[in-house]
């Protein structure tokens, strides 16, 4: 039962490795967005340290949203997506595989890059650790929730903007708990409770969103 899942992940990773440029676009976007804030706000270290968790998190969130469209659009265009709907495999399982592969390619690099950007803002080692863990728990949720939006807007002409409108409100809880965890660490309260909430949201999304995405894909291919 899990073999197709493994193969879908392997397939998508192979394709991603053969067109690496896409990964770098997301990463560069992340770096630029986060670097814009100090330029706009001014180089006051205390202010920057205060807003750093929020900025890095918003940057990661926007970058991950930017990458969303790529989950299904190429497969939709070349017909492999409709073939996936016609296989005897549960579509939700294939969706889970595709989202996981997408996260490995677009989410994990963000997580790895975030501490570097956090360092720019003078975050402490403790805060950076929490930042990594919160992103590690939060970004897969963003991909899972975003996949529903990506499936719903598949093949639409102004899909990108609509996707943002659909998905951003749903990202709010993840943002609050993600940035909150880092802030709590900075202020010395400890981010454990926030991280637990992020983990809970992740588990919930992991169970529910592939089903919703599968249903949305069926509608999109109708």
């Amino acid at each position: 039962m899990l073999e197709p899942l493994f193969w879908v992940i392997r397939r998508d990773l192979t394709i991603a490795m053969r067109r690496r440029a896409d990964i770098f676009t997301t990463l560069v976007f992340f770096a630029i967005v986060v670097s814009l804030f100090p330029l706009g706000i001014g180089p006051e270290p205390n202010t920057l340290r205060l807003i750093a968790p929020g900025i890095v998190w918003v940057g990661a969130l926007l970058a991950s949203m930017l990458a969303l469209e790529q989950i299904f659009s190429a497969d939709h265009r070349d017909g492999t997506l409709e073939q996936m709907l016609l296989t005897p495999q549960p579509v939700a399982l294939l969706v889970a595989g595709k989202v996981l592969a997408h996260w490995l390619v677009s989410g994990v690099p963000l997580v790895l890059m975030a501490p570097l950007l956090g360092l720019q803002f003078g975050l402490s080692w403790d805060a950076l650790q929490t930042l990594i863990v919160s992103l590690l728990l939060g970004t897969p949720t963003l991909s899972l929730i975003g996949a529903i939006g990506a499936a719903l807007t598949l093949g639409l002409r102004s899909g990108g903007v609509l996707l943002a409108l659909l998905v951003l409100p749903l990202y709010i809880p993840v943002l609050i708990f993600g940035a909150g965890a880092v802030e709590a660490t900075v202020s010395g309260l400890g981010g454990q409770s926030h991280l637990s909430m992020l983990a809970a949201i992740l588990v919930g999304s992991l169970v529910l969103t592939p089903l919703a995405t599968a249903a949305a894909l069926r509608v999109a291919e109708d």
Binding site: E82, Q83, L86, P88
Partner: protein, 216 residues
């Protein structure tokens, strides 16, 4: 031809399909049994592709039922997909993967494993010798079509639904595909195809359904 008491395996009963606000197919009924080839005819825009997508289960009909061994395909879903091979206008192959990789991943998703050597063999048979491990995006239209059609040889699905399978193929490939379809039907499979070419493979088991006019 009949299977037990359920009659022909694929039954289309009073099917109507709507695209946008246009009724393309109204009250269409027919059956396809084992070892039968159904040639779907009709002018452009008469709803052939729509009907094929409905038969594959990709498109929800407005009314009516499509039954596989007596059960609605909507309730069977994956159980029905197991017996089905649908090739639409899109080839369904990834340009970044080679022909072999495309064929093997398609096989795994279809629920069986295809060894590397068998994949090479099948691609040789369909006339892609020497192109097996090139990225498919470097292949010509006709060659891409051949990669898609290679699934017919690798798969043991019972129902083939082929939408304009002869498009972009050269004479030799058309001949080859006709043979492949004839063999499939002679071995008790079913095929439902649309094509504007005259189908030379027509044997005694071929039936024609014409859309866009009153059919017999």
């Amino acid at each position: 031809m009949s299977e037990g008491t359920t009659g022909p395996a694929l039954q289309i009963d009073a099917l109507s399909c709507v695209r946008g606000d246009r009724v393309l197919i109204r009250d269409l009924s027919f059956t396809v049994g084992d070892g039968e080839l159904l040639h779907l005819k009709g002018h452009n825009g008469s709803g052939k592709t729509t009907l094929l997508r409905a038969l594959a289960g990709l498109l929800l009909p407005e009314s009516g039922e499509i039954r596989w061994n007596g059960k609605n395909i909507r309730s069977l879903r994956e159980e029905y997909s197991r017996h089905l091979l649908y090739l639409g206008h899109l080839n369904g192959i990834k340009g970044d993967l080679s022909a072999v990789e495309n064929l093997r991943i398609a096989a795994i998703l279809d629920g069986f494993s295809l060894s590397e050597s068998r994949a090479w063999e099948v691609l040789g048979e369909i006339g892609l010798r020497g192109h097996e491990d090139l990225p498919s995006k470097h292949l010509s239209q006709g060659q891409k079509r051949r990669v898609a059609l290679a699934r017919l040889l690798a798969n043991d699905a019972k129902v083939w639904i082929l939408d304009e399978p002869f498009t972009a193929l050269d004479v030799a490939a058309v001949q080859l595909l006709q043979d492949v379809i004839r063999r499939h039907v002679e071995n008790g499979g079913m095929a439902i195809i649309t094509t504007h070419q005259e189908v030379a493979m027509i044997g005694e088991h071929t039936r024609t359904v014409t859309l866009g006019q009153k059919h017999a």
